[in-house]
Symmetry: C2
Subunit: 293 residues, 2 copies
């Protein structure tokens, strides 16, 4: 009886085949994120993707945007604060080729300014435990998450649209039109991060990159890195504004290059941080499988 | 000898034929903003547009993006603080069909975070004078300007990318994808404005509209108005952060509908404001013509 974890996001699809002890025996990844899968095709895509792994009696945990309205099986949101047990109570199951699929719910923070996540909650389950102390986790990406963990619970979180805004500005704005080149200037990134963190006026600051080039105080080749720094520095300011500066290091969960960039910005701003182990999604999915064993 | 003012922006072209006393005798407008004019075609477009007005000996003042790098004749930036006389010293002239064209320079605020404007400086010249008192003027638009006037000088200014960001988000972001309908909900606009003004975390707040719909706490039809309010409220916060709250009313210069929306937001936030007369561009261009008489 194989146990398999599937992390199925908007733009990527990853699967882990576990050994008996929960270590990852094999893994696969693919670009068929849910954005590229037509409704009705999810089962066929999954069966093809898991070919050779999916046997009768297998158990598969799935998390990410595959559980959203535009995904395969929409799971309800579980309210914050939430523990693994709260998520486990709201799993949805479905049978495919005699295997059991278990869909993990997303998380919701209710209130006048609600917020949601899908997929990140499973990654959070995969973090190394750290007892009862309060922790802040940042999960950089299209929709970055800042998460407050307390006594082993996911206490609260806040989404910052950093990644999406960066892409939009470069692809479609008048700032993007003035940007040149693809080299990443570390100095420009750091200057942007310092500005974004020190100032509370990001929408005005954005225009500074354009004005800088027009007045020859910034090179067109530095615009992209400066903008990236500005948005990341601003996100750090917004995140700290939401949850305060933590006692311990801020933990970074995400793809290596992006994670290192956030680490650079945080250190530059005098904030202690560390990059979490890379296999948090695989470990979180394993914890779900263990909970429904 | 006709005197003519031309306000030639990115997306629009307007011209004023003045009577001897400086009142507008006739006006024309057109969609041939500089974005839609090929380099080399500016003179032909202008001559056609001013047909019947442009006589030998005519004097034409031109301002706006037509004086930018992507325009017809690039004028240098004049540094802030600046008075009309400072602008008049940097006019560029050119002859067309025996008429004299006078191109007004843009304004620049130098420093570590420079800023630029083209066209708005001429509108500011057209405001009613108000003696020596300090004034704040907001000029809503794609790239909104907040301007500090002091003792009749344009003392400083700051650009906020509100309009462009709103368009980008609705057209290209995941928030835009969730927005429905075109009705403008005043209640949603006001709620957004209050949030945007009270909070200093706009990039996180933006995601709130999406999360609101996903958690059924916001109607998809309210997303656009809420976003608009959020960005305008945030702009007001950023503008006040730059220049402080003024002693007198904040003066609003801009298109009628947009100006009224800003007035609504400002009043809702307890800030006194008034909408400036609509013909500031025509009056500012007239002042330039008078200065080079």
């Amino acid at each position: 009886m194989n146990r398999i974890g599937v992390d199925w996001g908007s733009t990527s699809l990853r699967a882990y085949l576990y050994a008996r002890d929960g270590t990852v025996a094999e893994q696969r990844s693919d670009r068929r994120g849910i954005r590229f899968v037509t409704a009705g095709d999810f089962e066929a895509v999954l069966r093809e993707f898991l070919a050779g792994w999916l046997l009768p009696g297998s158990k598969v945990a799935l998390s990410g945007m595959v559980t959203s309205r535009n995904g395969w099986v929409e799971t309800p949101y579980v309210d914050c604060p939430a523990r693994l047990e709260d998520l486990s109570k709201s799993l949805l199951t479905r049978r495919v080729a005699d295997a059991e699929l278990v869909f993990v719910p997303g998380l919701c923070r209710r209130g006048p300014e609600p917020d949601v996540m899908r997929g990140e909650e499973t990654q959070l389950l995969g973090l190394d435990p750290a007892g009862d102390r309060e922790r802040i986790v940042v999960m950089p990406g299209t929709h970055s998450k800042w998460v407050l963990l307390r006594q082993g619970r996911i206490e609260s979180f806040r989404t910052c649209m950093t990644g999406e805004l960066y892409e939009l500005l470069l692809a479609h704005s008048l700032i993007g039109r003035i940007a040149e080149g693809v080299d990443f200037s570390e100095a420009a990134f750091v200057a942007g991060a310092e500005r974004g963190h020190a100032s509370a006026t990001p929408v005005s600051d954005l225009f500074g990159a354009r004005a800088g080039v027009l007045t020859a105080s910034m090179r067109a080749g530095d615009v992209a890195a400066y903008l990236s720094g500005l948005l990341v520095g601003n996100e750090i300011r917004e995140g700290i504004a939401a949850f305060g500066a933590p006692a311990g290091p801020i933990e970074i969960v995400g793809a290596r290059l992006l994670g290192e960039r956030y680490a650079q910005a945080l250190r530059q701003l005098g904030l202690s941080c560390r990059i979490a182990r890379e296999d948090v999604a695989a470990r979180g999915l394993w914890r779900v499988l263990e909970a429904v064993r």
